[in-house]
Every structure is written in structure tokens, then in C-alpha cells.
């Protein structure tokens, strides 16, 4: 059974098992504007998606974007940020999205996260969505532990459970001793790990990441790649990861989608063969990154002439 749940209409503080009780979500159903959250049950496996051929087409995708366009402004000044973008992400899959500036990667994540509404098209997500930004976006007045706690509180988790869960999540990101530190007392990498723990605290099934390691130094970034890979493997998270960095995409993704710029559109898809542990400096990663760079350069040239 595949049920697409209107995540946006889920009230704050719903039960953790939100994906199990679709009927109780107060989902307005097909009446939702632009049909965003209202993908009818069973419609998850949008077969027509050109670049979204999730492996094992029998499984309903965890995240499905079909024919989504986004226009900013109106009339002559209108800008088409996304042009009929379609993609599917299978449950547990790690998909990277790369593109030059102006390809609407961040716009797409905002749409999927429900922070904005598409001008047309349909997005459906199974379960909860968490979003991580390039900046940690931690609340500076709270300690690391309380930052995680507030995400649990927003879901309505009881106090006793929150304390235990916060400790557990801090351990997951190797920050067990730092729960009482405030964000400004932590390094950039540590803050981003707290942000990751906070995203995990949202008990999301789909994790959206908007260049989460873009502002970190290369050494920290490499370590966090290992960390993210481990955490995703531990809990079968579905990830949509936006980055500017082709090597990062080749290092992390099960699949890499390349987007064109102005208007944003998925133009190429690269499956990444999974052969043992990968490193950012391994030959396969470099080779794939090279091919993707060529494709992106071609796209840049198109805008240069």
C-alpha cells in the first residue's frame, strides 16, 4: 500500500507515527491548492517521470515530484525558476542534485519542504520531511541539547522521552559531551552536526539537505560525509541532497541528477555504482565527477553565448 501524506496539512505536534495514521491528519484531500499535498493514494509511482526512474519501479517512491513549475512574480517580470521538473526518490535512496547557480535547486527543496507552493505540478512525500540548510540555523539562545529538544517538543514528544532521545541523538552525531554548550561555543562542523541531530529529531522519513557542508572546511566535510553515510545507513533515510560540489555529489549519492539553469530542469541522470566504501579522492568518484563537470560546463556555455 502506498499512501502519500499531505505533510503540509499535518498539524504541529502530531504523533511520531504520523505516516501510519493518514486519516487522522486532517488532510483536506483534493481540495488542497495546486493539488500539492493531495496526491491520491496509490499515485506515488508516477511512471511518466523522465529523470526519475527509481530503481525497482514496483516500489512507491518516498518522494515524488511531477511536472513541477515555479514562477516568481507576474506579468513581464515573471521568472520561471523551475520548468516542469520531475523526479522520484525511492525509499532509502540518496539522491544528489547538482547544477550551476540559478538552477532552482533551493527553490525545489523549499517546495518539497512545504515552505513554498509550486505554481503547477504535484509533489508528494511519504511521511515527514526535515530540511537542513547551509547554515546550521540553530537557535542561539538555546544549548545544543535544547535545540534538539525543541524539535522534539514541536512534535509533541513527552518530556521524559525527550531527555532520553536528545541524549541519544547527541551520541549519534558524536557530541555526547556537548549538550550544554551553546551554538557559538561550538565549531562550524559541530554546529552542523547539531543541526543534523535536530533534523533527525524531527523523525523525518525524508531528509532534504541544502548544501549542508558548503560552508565547512574540506577536512571537516570529509569526516561529515562518512558520518552522514553511516547515519543514513543506520536508519534507512531517504535523502535529497543539493550541492554545488560535483565530487561531493559523486561521493555521497546513489544517483546524481544534473539540473540546467534558467529555467531549472533535470537534464541528466548519473547512477553511481555502489562498489564498496567510497572516498572523496577515489578514482571512481573522480571519474564520475569529471563527467558531470563536463556536462555542467556545457550548460554554462549555453548561457555564455
Amino acid at each position: 500500500m502506498s499512501l502519500s501524506i499531505g505533510r503540509r496539512s499535518a498539524p504541529p505536534g502530531t504523533t511520531p507515527a504520523a505516516s501510519a495514521v493518514p486519516a487522522a491528519q486532517g488532510n483536506p484531500g483534493p481540495a488542497t491548492p495546486a493539488g500539492l499535498a493531495a496526491a491520491p493514494a496509490g499515485n506515488g509511482s508516477t511512471a511518466a517521470a523522465p529523470a526519475g526512474g527509481a530503481r525497482g519501479s514496483g516500489i512507491a517512491p518516498a518522494l515524488s515530484v511531477s511536472e513541477v513549475s515555479k514562477v516568481y512574480g507576474a506579468g513581464r517580470g515573471a521568472v520561471l525558476a523551475l520548468d516542469r521538473v520531475s523526479l522520484n526518490v525511492a525509499p532509502g535512496e540518496f539522491v544528489c542534485l547538482i547544477g550551476a547557480s540559478g538552477c532552482g535547486k533551493s527553490t525545489l527543496l523549499n517546495l518539497v519542504a512545504g515552505l513554498d507552493t509550486p505554481s503547477s505540478g504535484r509533489i508528494s512525500v511519504q511521511g515527514r520531511v526535515a530540511l537542513m540548510f547551509q547554515e546550521p540555523a540553530l537557535f542561539p539562545w538555546l544549548t545544543a541539547g535544547r535545540n534538539i529538544d525543541v524539535a522534539l517538543r514541536a512534535r509533541g514528544v513527552a518530556k521524559a522521552a525527550r531527555t532520553a532521545r536528545t541524549r541519544e541523538l547527541l551520541e549519534t552525531v558524536h557530541l555526547a559531551g556537548f549538550g550544554r554548550k551553546r551554538p557559538h561555543e561550538l565549531s562550524g562542523g559541530m554546529r552542523q552536526r547539531v543541526a543534523l541531530a535536530r533534523a533527525l529529531a524531527q523523525d523525518a522519513d525524508v531528509l532534504l539537505m541544502d548544501e549542508p557542508f558548503g560552508a565547512l572546511d574540506a577536512m571537516t566535510r570529509d569526516l561529515l560525509h562518512d558520518e552522514l553515510e553511516r547515519i543514513c545507513a543506520e536508519r534507512t533515510l531517504t535523502v535529497l541532497f543539493v550541492t554545488h560540489n560535483v565530487r561531493e555529489a559523486a561521493r555521497l549519492g546513489d544517483r546524481v541528477l544534473v539540473m540546467s539553469s534558467r529555467p531549472g530542469r533535470v537534464i541528466e541522470e548519473y547512477p553511481v555504482p555502489r562498489t564498496g566504501p567510497r572516498r572523496i579522492d577515489s578514482v571512481q568518484v573522480a571519474e564520475l565527477a569529471g563527467r558531470m563537470t563536463d556536462r555542467l560546463r556545457e550548460e554554462m556555455r549555453r548561457h555564455g553565448s
Binding site: G13, L115, P183, E185, S187, G189, T220, L223, R230
Partner: protein, 288 residues
């Protein structure tokens, strides 16, 4: 996809990146206290010296007394019960007036920040009220409330509430959009969004508004007390008025010093609170 776990590497990098704790040795607190105190002491000494010089020139010698006369007058007043009584009366009005201003200003601030039409209607009026000299409200207050403490409270509230409301509105307005996005994706909505995100985020601006509000409240209170005569409730302002009528320079100046000191002490408390908040949030340079 077996990835080798490297917690030791991560812990190592974390330790390298964290700032070294460099608290001073013994006597560091005393040194800091002295470093903060000596400029203030020097400033006071300079003022007293200038005053003494003017006194020595004999300018307006029939009224203008030197620092020693005034300070001994102040000392004498401090021995008696009268000064403390009038300080008590005035501080009581200050606390009640400020508390009411805090309540009213906060409620108005939240409403204006939340309801756009209300902002369009009264947003600029609030700023306008801030520029209004509080003494100008005194006749209005006396006409409505008569020579009563209600008139004084009215002036104090009108002086302080706009600053407090404005501080809160600014705080809400400047809640970082990124934090709002983070909060929304966490599922914070409506009241929860305000409780866990918007209001805590506004706190520094709110405290700044409260600090400014106190300055206005204190000024308004003095203006009110100088003019409004309440029988049976002798206050600092009324005492100052009496000294003025008797051309008692030493007495009047003593009271002015008292007013100044109380204002500074309370303001220091607000500054301390403001610094504590900003330090907690990492908004201060570590060197300070």
C-alpha cells in the same frame, strides 16, 4: 557500504577547533573591577574639580556653593529619615508606573507585530509618541486625573510604553528569516512559533526597548512630580520643587545627585541584563 567509524578523528578535530579556555589567574576579578571603575572615578573627580574651580572664581557666589557644602548637605540628608521616605515614595511610583508600562507596551507590541492593519494604523503613532516630551503630557494628565498619583502614573506610562512596544516590534521584525524557516520545517506554528522562536529571538531588542523605556519613565516621573502636588505623598520631585522655591542650592543639588544616581543604578542593571543575554548568544566579542 561499510564505512569505517572514526569517532576518534571527529573528537580530535572537535578538540582542535574549540577555543581554548583562558580565564585569568587569581586576582583577575579584582583587576577587571578596577579596570571598569577607574575611568568612572576619574570622571567624577574631574567634574568635582571643575565645579570647585567655578566656585573659587566667585561666580554667583551668593547662591552657588562648592562641592564640599553640597556633599555635606547630602550626607546630612542621608542621616535623616526624610530623604529615604521621599525616595521610597518616588521609587514606588516608578515601579508601579514602569510595571504598567511594561505590561501595556508588551501587549501593544505583540498585537502590532502580529496584526498588519493595526501596524499600519498605530505603528507610526508609537514612534511619534516616543518623540513627545513627557512634560507636555502633564497638563493633560492634571486636567483628567487632578493632582493625584494617577496623573503621575499616566505620564510615566505614556513616556515608557512606546519604547517598550517599539523594542518588541523591532525584535519580532528582525527575527532572522533563516530561523523562521528552520522553525517552520520543525512544525512550529502559531503560538508555539512565538513561544519557542519569535519571542526568544526578540529578547535582545525587547530588553533594549525596556532599557530605553526606563530612561523615559524616570524622566517622565521627575517631570510629573515637579508639577503635580499630591498632599500626604511627599516625593523627590516635590522636595526638589521646595528647595527651588527656597533658593536652597545645596539642598536642590543634593536631590539632583540622588536622581542621577538612582537613574544610573537602574540603567546599569538593564545594561548588565543586556550584556548577559548577548554573551549567552555569542553576540559579543570573546575578548570583552
Amino acid at each position: 557500504m561499510a564505512v569505517s567509524l572514526q569517532p576518534a578523528e571527529i573528537a580530535g578535530l572537535d578538540n582542535l577547533e574549540l577555543r581554548q579556555d583562558r580565564s585569568g589567574g587569581p586576582g583577575a576579578a579584582a583587576r577587571r573591577l578596577w579596570a571598569a571603575a577607574w575611568p568612572k572615578l576619574l570622571a567624577i573627580a574631574l567634574v568635582l574639580a571643575a565645579w570647585q574651580l567655578v566656585h573659587l572664581t566667585g561666580w554667583k557666589h551668593y547662591v552657588l556653593k562648592g562641592p564640599s557644602t553640597v556633599l555635606s548637605n547630602l550626607w546630612q540628608q542621608m542621616q535623616g529619615a526624610m530623604l529615604w521616605q521621599i525616595i521610597g515614595v518616588t521609587l514606588r511610583s516608578a515601579i508601579i508606573g514602569y510595571a504598567l508600562a511594561l505590561l501595556i507596551g508588551s501587549v501593544i507590541g505583540v498585537l502590532v507585530a502580529r496584526i498588519p492593519p493595526l501596524r499600519a494604523a498605530v505603528g507610526s503613532i508609537i514612534t511619534g509618541l516616543q518623540t513627545m516630551p513627557s512634560i507636555a503630557w502633564v497638563p493633560f494628565a492634571i486636567i483628567i486625573f487632578g493632582q493625584s498619583s494617577a496623573a503621575i502614573l499616566f505620564v510615566v506610562i505614556l513616556g515608557a510604553a512606546p519604547s517598550i512596544a517599539n523594542g518588541l516590534i523591532n525584535g519580532v521584525d528582525y527575527t532572522p528569516p533563516l530561523l523562521l524557516r528552520a522553525g517552520r520545517t520543525m512544525g512550529l506554528r502559531g503560538i508555539a512559533l512565538y513561544r519557542y522562536l519569535v519571542l526568544p529571538a526578540s529578547l535582545p531588542a525587547y530588553v533594549a526597548g525596556m532599557k530605553q523605556g526606563w530612561a523615559f519613565a524616570w524622566r517622565s516621573l521627575m517631570a510629573g512630580e515637579l508639577v503635580v502636588q499630591i498632599i500626604g505623598q511627599f516625593s523627590i520631585g516635590q522636595q526638589l520643587d521646595v528647595y527651588q522655591q527656597n533658593l536652597d542650592f545645596a539642598g536642590a543639588t543634593s536631590i539632583i545627585i540622588v536622581i542621577l544616581v538612582i537613574g544610573i543604578v537602574v540603567d546599569t542593571l538593564f545594561t548588565k541584563a543586556d550584556l548577559a543575554i548577548r554573551r549567552r548568544r555569542g553576540l559579543l566579542d570573546a575578548a570583552i
